[in-house]
């Protein structure tokens, strides 16, 4: 039998053995038996010494070809069996991925805080400073400096908790306006502040009244601030909070500390202005009070109203949240029922 034939025989036998090996151990055995240093192929190669110089390269090349072929077959079979083992193991490890994950305790911000934070961020982007005024304020700052002298009928609009004759729980975050005005150095640029916080009114708690609630007050004073600027600012707020299709309309109103004074209505976010129960079929929802800072307020803070002017606006996050989420009882915000608090997922 020629060496070539012997090689062909070894190849065919080897391939058959590899194919029939059904566990990794057997494949390894075939490899050792066939390709090992004492194996038949090595032996064939050793027999090449007896060949003529012409034949030697031919047989050598053929022997390499056979060895490569066997090696490849072994590798392939090896991989196949290895994969089968892994597959079997993976199959055994399969989980019900629909079982719930292990809970990680996670709290969330109060819905009122969410609204205040959103507005703070919006106004900081427009260059406003955030100011946290005191909750216990002097009558003088809460009322008189805002053009609400004692015995002014507009004081009826805000029934007040007094601590003493002259000290009270602030009824409005605008109580901070006079302090902001008198503390600001106008040589350093315009005054732009946003004052969010708790306010208090002498009201009996029911579904729509709370003796404690929140307000956000904005104030801008500079040499040339216009009512058009107020309208533009409020429109931007509405569109940022609700979307581009939202509009703002102004209506005359009265606040002692602004002149002209307006109420600002925003396109109803429930019906997009078509009219619904929330907006009483008007398509508009009243969300803000605003106006141009009253000259007396500026004067009382030592600012010349002939030179400086500005606008102020105020809104109630509680009312806002009630409208936005359909909350029907304001007391929900302060009773802290976890079933209530957990409903308002923080965005982003």
């Amino acid at each position: 039998m020629s060496l070539q034939d012997r090689l062909t025989e070894l190849r065919d036998q080897g391939l058959a053995d590899i194919k029939s090996a059904d566990v990794l151990r057997k494949v390894n055995q075939v490899k050792v038996d066939l390709l090992g240093k004492k194996g038949p192929i090595t032996e064939v190669l050793r027999g090449m010494r007896d060949l003529s110089p012409e034949e030697r390269p031919k047989v050598g090349a053929y022997a390499n070809e056979v060895r490569d072929k066997l090696q490849a077959a072994i590798d392939q079979r090896h991989a196949e069996l290895e994969q089968a083992v892994i597959n079997k193991q993976l199959a055994a490890e399969t989980l019900d991925v629909t079982l719930p994950g292990r809970d990680v305790a996670q709290g969330q911000p109060h819905v009122i805080t969410q609204i205040i934070t959103e507005l703070e961020d919006l106004f900081m982007g427009m260059g406003y400073q955030i100011v946290d005024g005191d909750e216990v304020e002097e009558d003088y700052y809460n009322f008189e400096r805002l053009n609400l002298p004692k015995d002014h009928p507009a004081r009826d609009m805000q029934d007040t908790f007094y601590i003493t004759k002259d000290v009270l729980l602030r009824t409005q975050t605008s109580a901070d306006q006079p302090r902001s005005l008198e503390n600001h150095d106008f040589s350093k640029g315009p005054l732009k502040v946003l004052s969010p916080g708790r306010v208090y009114r002498r009201d009996t708690d029911d579904a729509t009244h709370s003796h404690q609630f929140h307000q956000i007050e904005g104030l801008v004073v500079d040499k040339h601030i216009t009512m058009a600027d107020l309208k533009g600012t409020l429109t931007l707020v509405a569109q940022t909070l609700f979307g581009d299709q939202f509009d703002v309309r102004l209506r005359p109103s009265f606040f002692p500390f602004t002149e002209p004074s307006v109420e600002a209505d925003v396109t109803c976010f429930k019906c997009n202005g078509k009219g619904c129960a929330i907006c009483k079929q008007t398509g508009w929802i009243e969300v803000l009070g605003a106006g141009m800072v009253h000259p007396h307020v500026l004067e009382m803070s030592g600012i010349d109203p002939e030179v400086y002017g500005g606008f102020a606006f105020g809104l109630g996050p509680d009312r806002f949240a009630m409208l936005k989420y359909g909350v029907d009882d304001i007391r929900n915000f302060y009773l802290n029922d976890v079933r209530f608090l957990s409903q308002f997922y923080k965005k982003g």
């Binding site: 009512m227 058009a228 802290n336």
Partner: protein, 805 residues
């Protein structure tokens, strides 16, 4: 203020639907509460003429009537009203008609006799009982003789009117009158209003001053104008129906011709008037003054009132007869028997009337107007109008002239403003013509010179006295919709949170990441709860006049409110609750007028913070869980000084053995622990762990300087030690000793086991620590570490009596 659109059409040509009119008013002047249509929902209610009226055979009060309702055959209707009679015109609710309160009327039987419908009283048509004239309150309403049977009844009694209910802001008192509202609408619609004229016939012989003298002792600011007219030979009787209709559609009850005339003129001109029975005024001498201590007056409502020195009084021969601007006295009330009327037209100070109305709880149409101010220039005209009307309705005569106590010389206000100022404030580019046209529509005489408008504001618009007020007039009549929308220009500013605000925001996020949900509780609570859990003792900040005993004082801690929140949840079967709050507590400062407001952050956990699930058991919260939350939070603040937890049993509301005060360096910044079981019971909460931290103090404390520490290239080595030690030796003591004796290379001491179960002798516990050694500059040698470690073991044994295991 209820504005009848029917009445309004006496002034203006308005062929505009009421809803549109209301919308226009709302967009240009004042808020509108709604449009009232009295006949809304009512159907098949017609005029009927009672042809026959016989007693019901089986009843002692019912009548069987044959009523002509404009059909071929009369209807038989059974009626129980005492005043039903043949020959009268009445209100008939036909079979299948709808009357007030969404009630449907059907054919029916009353005591065996068929009744085709019902004869109605006013309140059955939905009239507010307070508006129904007293004389018709007990029976059906009798329509005028010329009413046509079968016609809908609404036009006869003013129910076809559309009434716009205005919600008038304090500045627009001028619109608390038909005249004022008409002026406003005239400006809006650019019309010339037809204002009412006064046709006063004075007696040639009787002179008011002969029978009546008036003296005003009060200050000119309190009573700028006080004058009276006398109307003689008056017959007091019910007003004609047209007047009653106007009165009730304005929301008032018709009383009699004299009172109705004064109310009519009040609605028309906004000028309160008061009619006295002249014959009850002794000596015909009226004086106006402030009340004296101890004086009394019985007012029209029969109340005996003790007067206050701030009350303005009308007196007859110095005896109080009327609380000025608020309510008249009973003794001088106009009655059926009155024949001579002394009619007051006056201006009183807004603050005086406001106080009197408040102090005596007397809020009337008159006081409301005085409080907001009235047109000082119109008092005389209104007085004349009312006198003329009383004379006409009561067949009397008006005495010549007035008895005048004081008569203010009212001058119009002049306000100047430039066009450039208007455009500067509004951000508009209005022209002279546009602005001049607005002032013309307002009927404000205006002189224009270059770009300056000199505007003469009539006394009827007493709210206008500043240039800013004129700008508002221009803005609202030009239309807010027409304003451009821009953003402020000028020097840019940077908006960013200050350090405190930044820390507060981060603190909220950290608490939420630790599993606590934000609560916002009430700052006002009971005195007891306000004191509870206070970090530092303080007097309370108490309300002067609390509304309820539940809310009397400002809190000194947040934990107290959080426990209320937990109780609320527990009561609703929510037993796993983890809340935190960030907010202020209020320390009273005896030497200051206001308390100091300190930012705190506090948390309360109860039940389990881990939800029970497959493979996860609920883990009841404990001291070490809340301490872990506090510790990791404090770590995030990067405080320069060490945080220490010191056992404390002084907090009355806290568990004495499970509470630690928290110090940073030597400063007390808060506490953490379990709520005392007794306190928990009082608050109605279960086992609860809380912490409270003074955030203001934490923010002020020095922060660790952030500096990079090179990471050692050399490996670290560890040694474990387990020991038996007396129960009363604390972890803090052991760690301190280990650190003290640990040597230069000791990097870290980590507690990894605590055991005091059955295998440990009584009074002992087993603790185990891992000590980590590392050298920054060289590889540690085993012997070095062993030597250092042995020193620690010796110290533990010698100094703390530990038994190394």
């Amino acid at each position: 203020m209820r504005i009848s659109t029917t009445w309004l059409r006496d002034y203006l040509k308005l062929d505009i639907p009421a809803d549109e009119l209301a919308e226009k008013i709302e967009r240009t002047a004042v808020e509108v509460d709604g449009v009232i249509r009295p006949s809304e929902g009512l159907k098949k209610v017609v005029v009927g003429h009672v042809l026959e009226c016989e007693p019901h055979p089986d009843s002692d009060h019912l009548h069987v009537c044959q009523v002509d309702v404009g059909e071929e055959e009369p209807l038989q209707i059974v009626c129980g009203a005492p005043n039903v009679a043949a020959g009268e015109n009445v209100i008939v609710a036909l079979p299948n008609s709808w009357i007030g309160d969404h009630t449907k009327i059907k054919k029916g039987k009353m005591r065996g006799i068929v009744s085709f419908g019902m004869l109605c009283a006013l309140d059955e048509l939905g009239f507010d009982e307070k508006l129904v004239p007293k004389e018709v309150a007990d029976g059906i309403f009798i329509l005028p003789a010329d009413a046509v049977p079968g016609e809908p009844v609404f036009s006869y009694i003013g129910m076809d009117d559309e009434i716009i209910d205005l919600s008038i802001t304090p500045n627009r008192g001028d619109m608390l009158s038909m005249n004022g509202t008409a002026h406003e609408l005239a400006a809006i619609y650019d019309q010339k209003p037809t204002m009412p004229t006064v046709d006063l016939q004075e007696s040639a012989t009787d002179v008011a001053e002969d029978d009546l003298t008036v003296q005003v002792d009060a200050d000119e600011t309190d009573v700028p104008t006080y004058k009276m007219r006398l109307i003689k030979n008056v017959t007091v009787k019910p007003s004609p129906l047209w007047l009653q209709v106007r009165i009730w559609n304005a929301g008032m009850r018709p009383i009699n011709n004299v009172v109705d005339a004064t109310n009519y003129v009040l609605m028309q001109y906004g000028q309160p008037l008061h009619a006295f029975d002249y014959d009850q005024l002794t000596a015909g001498k009226i004086n106006v003054r402030l009340a004296k201590e101890g004086e009394h007056l019985t007012t029209l409502d029969g109340e005996d009132r003790e007067l206050l020195p701030t009350d303005l009084l009308i007196c007859s021969d110095d005896q109080p007869i009327c609380l000025a601007g608020a309510m008249g006295g009973l003794d001088t009330e106009v009655t059926d028997k009155t024949t001579t009327i002394a009619l007051e037209g006056a201006v009183f100070d807004a603050v005086r009337i406001r106080k009197a109305a408040h102090n005596h709880d007397l809020h009337s149409e008159a006081s409301m107007r005085y409080e907001r101010g009235i047109d000082h220039g119109m008092t005389g005209t209104a007085l004349d109008a009312a006198a003329a009307m009383i004379a006409e309705l009561g067949d009397g005569t008006v005495a010549k002239g007035m008895a005048v106590g004081r008569d203010e010389d009212v001058q119009p206000v002049t306000v100047a403003i430039t066009l450039s100022r208007i455009n500067h404030v509004l951000g508009t580019e209005l022209t002279n013509e546009t602005v001049a046209d607005i002032f013309k529509r307002l009927d404000f005489p205006t002189v224009v010179a270059d770009d300056t408008f000199t505007v003469t504001v009539p006394s009827r618009r007493w709210d206008i006295h500043l240039p800013a007020d004129l700008i508002e007039e221009v803005a609202r009549l030009y239309g807010y919709d027409n304003l451009p929308a821009t953003l402020p220009t000028g020097q840019p500013t940077i908006g960013k949170l200050n350090e405190t605000q930044q820390v507060i925001r981060n603190s909220r996020k950290l608490m939420e990441s630790a599993g606590l949900t934000q609560a916002i509780s009430y700052s006002l609570t009971t005195a007891e709860k306000a004191h509870a859990f206070a970090l530092h003792a303080s007097e309370l900040t108490n309300l002067d006049f609390p509304m309820s005993s539940e809310r009397t004082a400002l809190r000194l801690s947040l934990v107290s409110g959080l426990l209320d929140d937990l109780a609320y949840n527990n009561a609703r079967k929510e037993h796993n609750v983890a809340l935190y709050e960030e907010g202020r507590v209020f320390y009273s400062q005896p030497e200051e007028v206001r308390p100091v407001e300190v930012e705190h952050i506090a948390g309360a956990i109860t039940g389990s913070m881990v939800k029970k699930s497959w493979g996860v058991a609920e883990q009841p919260v404990d001291f070490y869980q809340i301490k872990g939350i506090v510790a990791s939070y404090l770590k995030s603040l990067a405080l320069a000084e060490e945080v220490r937890y010191v056992a404390n049993s002084d907090h009355a509301e806290m568990h004495p053995g499970r509470t630690a005060n928290i110090y940073v360096g030597d400063q007390l910044v808060g506490f953490v622990g379990e709520v005392h079981p007794t306190t928990a019971k009082a608050y109605k909460v279960r086992e609860t762990y809380v912490f409270e931290l003074d955030l203001t103090a934490l923010i002020a404390l020095p922060k660790a300087r952030q500096q990079y520490q090179p990471i050692s290239k050399f490996p670290s080595m560890t040694r474990d030690v387990a020991m038996l030690i007396d129960d009363n030796v604390t972890n803090a003591t052991i760690v301190a000793l280990i650190n003290q004796k640990g040597g230069a290379h000791l990097q870290d001491v980590q507690l990894f086991d605590v055991y005091n179960g059955s295998h440990v002798p009584d009074g002992k516990k087993s603790l185990a620590y891992t000590l980590t050694y590392q050298n920054q500059d060289a590889t540690l040698v085993d012997e070095e570490v062993t030597q250092a470690f042995d020193k620690v073991l010796t110290a533990l044994t010698d100094e703390l009596g530990a038994e190394i295991r």
